[in-house]
């Protein structure tokens, strides 16, 4: 029989107040296999650990049971301790007599009995434990950043500055994301392009960053430290190796389509750069609107290009690269309010616009060169209404969450309007004003001082009377209905996950929540990690946030990546699924159920079923040690019982259960 030592912790009075620790310790002494039992005030303390180490020497203990707090708290502490003693660190069991006994029971007598039962079960299991050894997995010292908005840019720069290679993938022809569409940023009202374009240039000039614009991630394989990613470079039809970005092609292109970057307020040619300061500053041809690519006639850009960069035969190109870590920064889009808000005109009124459209309208490099005008007739509005929470805080329209940035965004819009239109009146309809950020409340104060009239009430409907729009709402502080005649209405629409972010999450194996945001590993303590090792989150893809928070989170994600890439190899947990080859029938039920894509079907020599017993290769489940998280789902799915979870083998668990009935 194994030489088991049992150590019962008082945890000050945390355990001792509800459990008779001395009695539990005495009871442990007579359990099968136990050669020594002791109790102490704080087992996890330095003297407590020394006491265990001494006992291991004195009694020749081979296996250890510690009755204390949850294994989540101190299992690692005691494993580290065991490593020093020479006993394999997986020959230890923790009986949780604090969270599962002392903190939940009042009756000391019964609590003590339960504690003794838990200790007996732990002793039974520890006798069946086997020494395990963790493997070292090598780490590819390169990072992939998906998404080239401000989050992706910041994460890429931070990782690259630390000396690691970064590949930044952006699906648009230029990096910059949503931030470069904005005119100014709160609470300082500094120009958005002025602070983001230098960072974009830094990205393109950084020796450690490889920028892949107009590209998408097509496939992700592998695991932490060892990802293999397939990237699709979309056909640009322009040879960027020789193009100088002179712009002659865009000027002469006869095709004109609404510019998505300018929210449809202006048109762009088929061969285009997103905006003047685009990075890379070289055009691509949009194949859906190019006359030459659609009908074969035209070819103006080819004739005009002095360097012969145009190639109508260009095709999408796929290639693979290896990475050790991945940062997801896929960002957001604004909700399509016209599909949801019939009461706001559902897009029938051209002078009801969303906040991002207003940003293009007020932007000096936008289609109106910064003049705020009504899209319908080009006149300057004299009364403007701003409506908050459009699509946000509206479970009926599918989004219960607060989009977090809109309160400040609305106040900022009011300030921008006051700066541009003399004698304008601005009404802001709100439910609550939320300004939890440095300098935010002061910004709100100044907005009211500037003359913005805040009306507490959600606008019930917008209708047209002649040329003006009427916003009908209740001033809920007065309890009276109000109707505000407005020349222009700005809707501060909800943020929602960018189109395609779910498919990126799917490729990575990362979870998304009910609203489509990528889920962090722990909402408070692991906010930039995902449940998938080596995959990190930056920016709005994890949930709505403003620019300061986005940049902070991007730097945090970068710090995690740098920490990972600074190691040459990392230890993997040995508590993973293990396949007994002879029992495996190759049914692949485990492959289907594994949430981490850790099981694949390999082959091994065997004999054909039936009479002739011909030698054949037959399928067998193979577990990838890097991907397996030890959840145990496969062990349940396995119909032949061929898969066991190391450290939690079926017979170990059953031994534990049996110990309850002695």
């Amino acid at each position: 029989m194994s030489k088991v030592g049992v150590f019962v912790c008082h945890c000050g009075t945390n355990i001792a107040a509800a459990v008779d620790v001395v009695r539990a310790c005495e009871a442990a002494k007579s359990m099968p296999g136990v050669v020594h039992a002791a109790e102490y005030k704080y087992m996890c303390s330095e003297p407590g650990q020394q006491m265990i180490l001494d006992a291991i020497k004195e009694y020749g203990l081979k296996r250890i049971v510690i009755a204390s707090c949850s294994p989540r708290m101190h299992e690692t502490t005691f494993r580290k301790m065991l490593k020093k003693s020479g006993v394999n660190e997986y020959l230890i069991e923790i009986a949780n007599i604090r969270e599962q006994v002392a903190w939940v029971h009042d009756d000391k007598e019964k609590a003590t009995e339960k504690a003794i039962d838990l200790i007996r079960m732990a002793v039974a299991k520890v006798c069946r434990d086997e020494p395990l050894k963790s493997q070292m997995i090598p780490i590819t010292k390169r990072a992939l950043v998906i998404g080239g908005g401000i989050a992706g840019i910041q994460a890429a720069l931070d990782i690259a500055d630390a000396g690691h290679e970064v590949t930044l993938v952006e699906r648009e022809p230029s990096i910059g994301g949503r931030m470069v569409m904005l005119d100014k940023t709160f609470p300082t009202l500094d120009c958005s392009a002025c602070i983001s374009t230098p960072k974009m240039v830094d990205v393109s000039a950084h020796p450690n960053i490889r920028l892949l614009a107009y590209s998408e991630v097509a496939k992700v394989e592998g695991y932490i430290g060892n990802f293999t990613v397939t990237i699709r470079q979309k056909a640009r039809y322009v040879n960027h190796d020789i193009c100088t970005g002179c712009g002659a092609c865009s000027e002469k292109c006869p095709a004109k389509v609404p510019s998505a970057f300018n929210k449809g307020l202006s048109k762009r040619p088929a061969i285009y750069t997103l905006f003047p300061q685009a990075v890379p500053a070289k055009p691509v041809i949009d194949k859906d609107s190019c006359i030459k690519l659609k009908s074969g006639k035209c070819g103006v850009c080819e004739k005009i290009c002095p360097l012969g960069c145009i190639n109508y035969e260009d095709e999408d190109m796929e290639f693979t690269e290896d990475f050790g870590a991945i940062v997801t920064a896929t960002g957001y889009q604004t909700a399509d309010w016209a599909q949801m808000y019939d009461e706001y005109g559902a897009g029938r009124f051209p002078d009801v616009i969303d906040g991002l459209t207003f940003e293009r309208l007020v932007n000096a490099s936008g289609p109106t060169e910064g003049h705020i005008v009504r899209p319908s007739d080009g006149t300057e509005p004299k009364t403007i209404s701003i409506i908050k929470c459009v699509g946000s805080r509206d479970p009926k329209k599918g989004r219960a969450y607060c989009s977090r940035a809109c309160c400040m965004y609305a106040a900022k819009h009011a300030r921008q309007i006051f700066g541009k239109i003399e004698g304008v009146r601005v009404f802001i309809f709100y439910i609550d004003v939320r300004t939890p950020g440095k300098g935010y409340e002061e910004f709100y104060d100044k907005t009211r001082e500037d003359g913005a009239i805040y009306v507490r009430g959600r606008v019930s409907r917008i209708y047209k009377e002649g040329d003006t729009l009427i916003c009908q709402a209740e001033d809920s502080l007065l309890g009276k209905q109000v109707r505000v005649k407005s020349d222009l209405v700005i809707l501060e629409t909800a943020m929602e996950p960018a189109e395609g972010s779910a498919s990126v999450a799917g490729m990575l194996g990362a979870a998304v929540d009910g609203d489509g945001w990528l889920t962090e590993a722990h909402p408070k303590l692991r906010p930039v990690e995902t449940q998938v090792g080596g995959v990190f989150l930056a920016g709005v893809c994890q949930g709505p946030k403003d620019i300061p928070d986005t940049v902070s989170q991007a730097s945090a994600a970068a710090a995690k990546v740098i920490g990972l890439l600074n190691k040459n190899e990392m230890e993997s947990s040995p508590m993973i699924a293990s396949v007994e080859a002879d029992k495996c029938s190759g049914c692949s039920a485990c492959e289907a159920i594994c949430p981490y894509k850790a099981i694949t079907m390999g082959e091994q020599p065997g004999r054909e079923a039936g009479g002739n017993s011909k030698k054949v290769m037959r399928p067998i489940a193979v577990v990838n040690a890097g991907l397996c998280q030890g959840c145990g789902a496969c062990t349940v799915a396995c119909r032949t019982g061929a898969i066991d979870l190391l450290g939690y083998r079926n017979r170990q668990i059953l031994e534990e259960v049996d110990a309850l009935w002695v």
């Binding site: 479970p395 209740e474 809920s476």
Partner: protein, 183 residues
């Protein structure tokens, strides 16, 4: 008090939860009757949140609600205010809290239907103004309404007025029966 007549019970019957409402005011903002109401739909929900059933039952709002459901349609939390108002009306009637003008309107309206089988607006307005002690209410719009033929002068009874009277009589008998059974 009988537990069937508490605020909680009325809300449960209407399948309305007061905590669902976060007082955004979109309901009162769009309510076509809001101008004549004291509380308005948002005020009804607010009163429910603080447990002020009396102020709900004594409000004009519950009698002025036309049941158009614009508030429910636009409510972000799908709070069915008219359903709750309907329950509040029953409860107010049961407790004998009926506003005089509403009572007068109801009686006049019913008498009108009894007599002609359909409502005759001119007489309805006239009798209402007399019995509600508001003789001049809406009087100024009368010439316009008559000249534009928006309101008929002569009553136009339907065929089978007797059938309608029978229906009303039957409803009244049933109503009486229900009251007896309840008590």
């Amino acid at each position: 008090m009988n537990e069937n007549h508490t605020l909680e019970h009325l809300m449960k019957k209407a399948d309305v939860r007061s905590y669902d409402c976060y007082q955004c005011g979109k309901c009162s903002g769009g309510c076509p009757m809001a101008e004549g109401m004291d509380l308005g739909p948002r005020g009804i929900m607010r009163s429910a949140q603080i447990g002020a059933l009396d102020s709900i039952l004594n409000s004009s709002t519950i009698w002025l609600c036309s049941g158009c459901y614009a508030c429910v349609d636009r409510c972000p939390h799908d709070v069915n205010v008219p359903a709750f108002i309907e329950e509040a009306r029953y409860e107010a009637m049961r407790r004998g809290i009926v506003r005089r003008d509403s009572e007068v309107l109801n009686r006049t309206f019913l008498a009108n239907i009894r007599a002609f089988g359909r409502s005759h607006e001119m007489l309805l307005a006239a009798f209402y103004n007399i019995f509600a002690l508001k003789p001049t209410q809406d009087l100024t719009s009368l010439p316009h309404m008559i000249s534009k033929k928006l309101i008929p002068i002569k009553p136009d009874p339907i065929r089978g007025v007797g059938d309608v009277q029978a229906i009303i009589a039957r409803a009244e008998r049933l109503d009486k029966l229900v009251k007896e059974v309840r008590e």
